[in-house]
């Protein structure tokens, strides 16, 4: 199935960056979970398994020519909408939100799959769409429709983080295709009342609280503002060289919320300091720039759109997660790709890497 010539074209830069970040992540999860009372297999072993499983999936994804995705895109989109509806009707409740769908053997989070699906759907639409100059307001009506259905469904779960990400991914791809000034101005004018309406009607009190806590962390010392304060203490107390591996007091004393998942970066920052963080940020920056490079090198418009979309997905995850951990954004529950513990995030990210690899390998085939 895999063309022999393709193997010689494997993007080692991409693979290498992902593997290095994953391994750093596993090391960090080892440290972050030492204070936990572990019942079954330790988290870092499980994360290693997720990484290997994810790479296998990436391999499968990149072995199939990505052009197939173009034909499948709308079907995929429709299927995902059905799944999102199903979640709201029969989904499993956990931590006050309904995000999971039980498929018998395992649970899936359709909202997570929607991130990749929106990339493919938008790529297909923009590819088939003849853009003379840049997108006008009228050109955007259809993609806005495509976008609003999943976003509303995800907000309803409620999962503000994922909804924001889906929006940002779609927005990034649109910016890449190009928007007319009139369109930009119109959108700004339309967004303000919608945002106001969303605040008043759509957001749950706990979501509003998180946003308010972000704006004023002292609002409640023990409420959700507590997360931001503790996380900033962890990051800041790391200093230049950090407190050393498994030496972080914030993490080892379990002051950090979700310290092996969403707040895993604060554990890393505390123990490895500015130097370690600099390295990690450079690695992530390289990954994102490399993703854009793959898009640039691709001579096929659909491929380039896909690559931009996947890269945008990774980029926004990284920026929002790090920004949240460092107190620049509200706490929205966005994982750091390849670094946060968890199978769902690992698989989504790896599917993305598979797509990038797919495009990169086939750049000479077109």
């Amino acid at each position: 199935m895999i063309d022999r010539r393709l193997l010689t074209n494997i993007d080692w830069m991409l693979t290498g960056l992902v593997v290095v970040i994953c391994l750093l992540g596993i090391l960090n999860i080892y440290s972050a979970t030492t204070p936990y009372k572990i019942v079954a297999a330790p988290y870092y072993i499980k994360q290693l398994n997720w990484m290997l499983f994810g790479m296998l999936i990436a391999l499968v994804v990149c072995s199939i020519d990505y052009h197939i995705l173009e034909d499948l895109s709308y079907w995929l989109y429709g299927f995902l909408i059905v799944l999102l509806l199903a979640v709201l009707i029969v989904g499993r409740r956990s931590m006050g939100a309904t995000r999971w769908l039980n498929l018998g053997l395992f649970n899936i989070q359709p909202s997570e799959l929607m991130k990749i699906t929106i990339v493919i759907t938008f790529a297909r639409f923009f590819n088939n769409f003849q853009v003379v100059d840049a997108l006008s307001v009228k050109d955007m009506l259809f993609p806005l429709g495509i976008l609003s259905a999943p976003i509303l469904l995800i907000m309803k779960q409620p999962d503000l983080g994922t909804a924001t990400l889906v929006l940002l991914i779609a927005l990034s791809m649109t910016v890449y295709v190009g928007l007319r000034w009139t369109a930009i101005v119109t959108f700004i004018l339309v967004t303000i009342p919608i945002a106001w309406l969303a605040w008043a009607k759509l957001l749950h009190p706990y979501q509003k609280n998180r946003i308010l806590d972000f704006l004023n962390p002292e609002r409640s010392r023990l409420g959700s503002g507590y997360h931001i304060i503790q996380s900033k203490i962890a990051v800041g107390s790391g200093g230049i060289i950090g407190k050393g591996f498994v030496q972080g007091t914030q993490s080892q004393l379990s002051f950090l919320p979700e310290q092996h998942t969403d707040f895993v970066f604060s554990v890393f920052a505390e123990e490895w300091g500015f130097i370690g963080c600099l390295l990690l940020i450079v690695l992530y920056l390289s990954l994102v720039l490399w993703g854009l490079n793959i898009a640039r090198r691709c001579n096929d418009r659909f491929g380039a759109l896909l690559a931009v979309g996947v890269t945008a997905m990774l980029f926004w995850h990284i920026v929002i997660n790090m920004g949240m951990v460092m107190g620049m954004f509200p706490v929205v529950g966005v994982p750091l790709p390849f670094f946060s513990y968890g199978g769902t995030s690992m698989i989504t990210s790896m599917v993305g890497i598979g797509i990038l690899q797919n495009i990169s390998m086939r750049r000479f085939m077109f």
């Binding site: 800041g236 107390s237 505390e270």
Partner: protein, 635 residues
């Protein structure tokens, strides 16, 4: 051509990628700047914060201040109550634990889980209260199974204890858990979820004083969040105690004499405005409200036709009926329309235009002067006076007594009552005022409404001849050690500006009401102590001349206001018996007994038992159906 455009487009998007790369680089640079700020510029601050972080802070709830009566007798205090809490980070299997707790303690599993979910956002070492007010037996069961229930804790919290049961329930109010709604209010910004606050009555109005400030323990914890030792402890500051103006003995007798009748009674010191008794009957059990009110009890309260949850003394607005004749009479004296000897011939009815207004006594009172008009509550006298005065003059006099607006007793939901005038009616209904309506107002019916607080304030002002005091419930605020923090002084709201001799004419009439033959308030007579008062009947619905079988809720309210002693007034009292029909028979005896209780507590040794006066008077036929002929002595 198409090929060319395609290439152009590709080139354009490649340029755009380069642009995007710069944007990405810039945003990552911002992340780095932030990192620089946190880890290099502010590193020292955060490092010291992280070092202090080995210490954890666990709040300890303050004990609420007590509520006492004017003599320092405790009405509301605290007793320990136990609640079940879990420390989430110590719990391995939440579901299993919930099942265990539910079956061990026979609690509702769903409710436990809901409480847990609601408090998810907090720090994981912070205990979540799953069930408050658990029984001693349940505490025992948890203690026995401690080892099988990791992370489960018993918390001791002081809860309210009402030493006298349901005494003065409406006045004292009750406390309850801070609701989500209240948590968002500015007033409660320093409170945490699960805190108890005053929800009603004194508990609510003086929440700031009673609450106290929570203390806390600084704990040192190990790597697993387990407590190693207590480093320091800030003791909670017990809330301040409030000392009410209420006299508990008087309050008790006042509530007792009501029996199971619905109504309100307020007693007031005429020279200070201090409220001595504050009754709304029937009461409710405030202790039930502080815990979880059983649904059946709640329904029972709601279904009771006598409305036990209503604070009738504060929020009940009643047409004052004949007690309002005091105001009409004073207006007449002020405006020079009448004097002491002005007489009216009452034939039992009064004609105005084409309509006829009846006196309550259809046989008429004959020649009636001011004193007699009060004593026998002649309606015709006031119809005529009302017509001469017009509604606006009556309203102006009522306003001098601060009627028609809340007096500011310091409890929530105080009602303003209603003093109508022509302008008000025009505004409210868009219609002009009719003379017939003035006649209704003159005898305290129609639109006129007064709360029992306003009634007592009015009669107290008559007693002290012109000073309107703010009705006051608090005497002092003291701290937990009894040190005086604040002393409340009498507050004068205003003076009526009506001369003392006019008040004296009225007072002579009110004395006659109780003490002269033919007076409607004979049932309030106290023998050695001279009482003056006025009866009133407050129309609930126009059902004149109906037989005795009027259904409860349509029966008229019985009213009585009084003060004593007549020569040197000390205390005023207002009594409303809902659907009690006649002021003289239903309300006057209650007022008499409340006054009696006051003079008994004041001079306990020799006057504890005043020979038989009470019982004698209760047998006296009440003034609403006077047996004496109306021609009887009036001067």
């Amino acid at each position: 051509m198409k090929e060319q455009r395609f290439v152009r487009e590709i080139m354009a998007s490649k340029r755009r990628i380069i642009l995007l790369s710069f944007v990405v680089g810039a945003i990552f640079f911002l992340l780095l700047l932030r990192l620089w700020h946190l880890q290099i510029l502010s590193a020292d601050d955060y490092r010291s914060m992280s070092e202090n972080n080995r210490l954890r802070f666990v709040p300890v709830a303050a004990s609420r201040g007590a509520i006492m009566d004017r003599n320092g007798k405790v009405l509301v205090s605290n007793r320990p109550s136990y609640s079940l809490a879990v420390v989430p980070q110590e719990v391995k299997d939440k579901e299993a634990l919930l099942n265990q707790l539910a079956s061990l303690l026979t609690l509702d599993r769903g409710e436990l889980a809901e409480r847990w979910e609601k408090n998810m956002g907090r720090a994981k070492y912070y205990p979540i209260v799953l069930a408050s007010n658990i029984t001693r037996d349940q505490v025992e069961i948890i203690e026995e199974n401690r080892l099988r229930l990791p992370g489960v804790e018993i918390e001791m919290k002081p809860v309210r204890e009402y030493s006298s049961g349901i005494l003065a329930a409406h006045l004292l109010g009750y406390i309850g858990e801070l609701s989500e709604d209240e948590m968002n209010r500015k007033e409660y910004e320093d409170y945490n979820s699960g805190d108890y606050i005053g929800k009603n009555g004194i508990e609510r109005s003086w929440e700031q004083e009673l609450h106290g400030s929570d203390g806390g323990r600084q704990l040192e914890v190990d790597a697993h969040g387990r407590v190693l030792r207590i480093i320091s402890e800030t003791y909670p500051t017990v809330g301040n105690s409030v000392i009410l103006t209420i006299d508990v003995n008087m309050q008790k007798s006042a509530e007792r004499v009501f029996g199971d009748q619905a109504g309100a009674a307020v007693a007031m010191d005429v020279n200070t405005g201090e409220i001595l008794a504050f009754v709304s009957n029937p009461g409710f059990d405030p202790a039930l409200f502080s815990g979880k009110l059983p649904a059946t009890k709640w329904k029972e309260y709601l279904d009771d036709i006598r409305h036990p949850l209503e604070n009738k003394a504060l929020t009940g607005q009643y047409p004052p009926g004949s007690i309002f004749k005091i105001i009409t009479a004073l207006a007449g004296l002020e405006e020079g329309k009448i004097n002491e000897s002005t007489s009216v011939n009452c034939t039992g009815s009064y004609d105005l235009g084409t309509s006829t207004f009846k006196c309550w006594n259809k046989h008429g009172h004959g020649i009636t002067n001011l004193k007699k008009s009060l004593r026998e509550s002649c309606d015709v006298y006031y119809y005529q006076l009302g017509e001469q005065l017009g509604v606006d003059r009556i309203a102006a006099t009522a306003k001098k007594f601060r009627l028609g607006s809340p007096l500011g007793i310091g409890l929530n939901y105080e009602k303003p009552g209603m003093i109508p005038n022509a302008e008000w009616k025009q505004k409210r209904f868009g219609k002009r005022w009719y003379h017939g309506e003035t006649l209704s107002v003159a005898i305290g019916q129609g639109y006129v409404l007064m709360t029992p607080i306003q009634m007592v304030s009015m009669i107290a002002t008559v007693a002290n001849e012109g000073t309107v005091y703010r009705p006051r419930l608090l005497k002092r605020i003291v701290d937990a050690d009894g040190k005086l923090l604040k002393e409340f002084k009498p507050e004068i709201l205003g003076s009526t500006g009506i001369s003392a001799d006019k008040f004296r004419l009225i007072k002579q009439g009110l004395y006659a009401v109780v003490n002269d033959a033919g007076g409607t308030g004979a049932a309030a007579r106290l023998g050695d102590i001279k009482v003056a008062g006025k009866t009133g009947t407050s129309q609930v619905i126009k059902l004149r001349d109906s037989k005795l079988g009027t259904p409860y809720q349509y029966r008229d309210h019985a009213l009585f206001v009084a003060f004593a002693p007549y020569d040197k007034p000390e205390i005023a009292v207002a009594v409303v018996v809902e659907h009690g029909k006649h002021g003289g028979s239903a309300a006057a005896p209650i007022a008499g007994r409340i006054l009696r209780a006051w003079f008994n507590t004041k001079k306990p040794p020799q006057k504890a038992l005043v020979p038989g006066s009470e019982d004698d008077e209760e047998d006296t036929p009440s003034g609403s159906q006077p047996l004496n002929s109306e021609g009887a002595s009036n001067d």
